[in-house]
Amino acid sequence: MGRAEQISGGEEILSVQGVSVRLSGREVLSEVSFAIHPGALTGLIGSNGAGKTTLFRVILGLQRASAGHVLLAGRPRSHRNPLIGYVPQKFLLDPDMPLRARDLVGLGIDAHRLGIPRPSRARRALVAEMLEAVGAVGFADRRVGRLSGGEQQRVLIAHALAGAPRLLLLDEPLANLDLRAGQEVVALLARIARERDVAVLISAHEMNPLLPVMDRIVYLAGGRAVSGTVEQVVRADVLSELYGSHVDVLRVHGRVLVVAGAGEEEERSGVGRHGHEGVFPAPEVVK
């Protein structure tokens, strides 16, 4: 992990400092702190309900933190943040919506501006460059709503990149993709982070698809987080402390399995789910 250490020497593009969020009396996030750097790909890993989406909403400025704060490029975040590109989790668009992939990418450049966009050579060229960067040239003129999940994901990434962000947030980009499309999207994001010097933060409930490309990991459980390199974080002692109960970390065929330890505690701590996923790995990986 020499690369990650090398990167962590640079400026921080995002710094989350002691962020806590209470929603209707329940503490969803509790003193979450981490920082990410341009050029690095960071995985935000946690099971459903661990607080990943809430954390994204805080970073985007859509959710107020009850304590702590978020710095973007060293400054408090402003209302409109051209520094951040965002790809939402669920994207259900009517197949008949009159919007080509190219149009959606164009909106990524200037959707916040008033008035009708004037076609210009520069705008067209930028859209073409973004489509090229995500490998979406082949379906650029089809309706977005009729594209496959993987194709839509690429178009959404191009849309987010078009605003020239320094930080790209993707909420569960692999959730609705098959294994192959997921691998392609992960490889694409790793390339974007490196080539464009963008900090990429990807949330996922499963860390294994991200293991080959992840420079750093932020592991969320029960609203608390630990962060660092995979080696630093995905360890039995670190995760046991985070979960508040004993967990084992197993490495099988290049996959990492976080398995709840013995005892009745696992039900209560919510580790059981994770353990379950790990104990029965997907068949295509076992081969």
């Binding site: 985007l60 400025g61 859509l62 209302h79 409109r80 943040n81 951040i84 965002y86 939402p88 994207f91 668009l93 009517d94 008949d96 919506m97 009159p98 919007l99 080509r100 190219r102 149009d103 959606l104 909106l107 200037d110 959707a111 916040h112 501006r113 008033l114 008035g115 009708i116 966009p117 073409a128 040239v137 082949g138 379906f139 650029a140 003129d141 089809r142 309706r143 977005v144 959404l156 849309h159 605003g163």
Partner: protein, 303 residues
């Protein structure tokens, strides 16, 4: 029917009739505005709100008649108020949307029932209900032309100014909010444009039929093009075309049975819009846009 119209029948001159000219002028402006605004109504899934605002116009129209003023301002006023109440109740949330619309619609139509009853009782006429509900393009007063042009321009100006933020928040409110677009404000401004467009359509082809002008050309255009700008331009053209052809057919229908009693313009306009929608569906299914075009062709177009 107006004296001018009777005279024009005798003259048998479509182009020399003032009623026809007003119907085509006002109808054309109204159809264009409604259809353009309607593209976003369809995209945002707010067709029910559009329909409701049209129906609610009945309340304003009947109140205006009772007060002895032109129907337009009554319909505009009630629609703006109704849109404001819908917005406050929670039209911005998908789940609250139908509820907000339904509650406001029910309350307004209840009031309309009372007002139409008063209209019929005090003015001793039942024709007014028919005119408000189903419209009568040939009876539009020429003096309303500047008012219609002004309100239509206002609706179009809102949509043109908000074009990009509105388009993105119609695609995904979440993505728009993440970019710092004030999604709720944009939605409220659009609702105002919608209220204006629907009020104009309600005055022209009737409160109940106004939806046809709002949704029909827009839905047809969405079937025929995959570009947002083109969809709006095409919807506008289709709306104007249906309106003008409807006026022409209604004018001709004075010579159809029953003689000397022309069929309503609204019927022709709505029938044409519906036929156009079905035709567009057939074209979309078999036409060149039905399948993805070869990559080489797409690349050529893009350059």
């Amino acid at each position: 029917m107006s004296a001018a119209l009777s005279a024009s029948i005798v003259a048998r001159g479509f182009f020399s009739s003032e009623a026809v000219a007003v119907a085509c002028g006002v109808g054309g402006v109204v159809a264009f505005v409604s259809a353009c605004v309607g593209v976003f109504t369809v995209m945002r899934g707010q067709s029910f709100a559009g329909e409701a605002l049209g129906d609610i116009g009945t309340t304003g129209g009947s109140a205006a008649f009772l007060a002895g003023v032109g129907p337009l301002w009554g319909i505009v006023a009630i629609d703006i108020v109704a849109a404001g109440v819908m917005e406050l109740i929670g039209i911005q949330r998908p789940r609250g949307r139908d509820l907000a619309t339904g509650i406001v619609l029910g309350a307004a139509l209840g009031l309309a029932a009372l007002l139409l009853h008063f209209d019929a009782t005090y003015h001793n006429t039942t024709g007014v209900a028919n005119t408000i509900l189903f419209g009568s393009a040939f009876t539009i007063a020429a003096r309303t032309i500047p008012e219609v042009a002004l309100l239509g321009a206002a609706a179009l100006a809102i949509v043109a100014a908000l074009y990009r933020p509105l388009l993105l928040s119609s695609v995904s409110a979440e993505m728009a909010a993440a970019r710092g677009i004030p999604v709720r404000l944009v939605g409220a401004a659009y609702l105002l444009a919608l209220a204006l467009a629907v009020a104009l359509a309600a005055m022209t082809i009737g409160t109940i039929l106004s939806t046809a002008l709002l949704i029909g050309p827009a839905a047809t255009a969405l079937r025929l093009t995959r570009r947002p700008g083109r969809a709006i331009a095409l919807a506008g053209a289709l709306g104007v075309g249906a309106m003008w052809l409807g006026v022409l057919l209604a004018y001709d229908s004075f010579y159809w049975p029953p003689k000397e009693h022309g069929w309503p313009v609204s019927f022709f306009v709505v029938a044409l819009i519906f036929a156009g929608y079905l035709l567009a569906g057939a074209i979309a299914r078999v036409g060149p846009g039905a399948r993805a075009r070869p990559a080489a062709l797409m690349r050529k177009e893009w350059e």
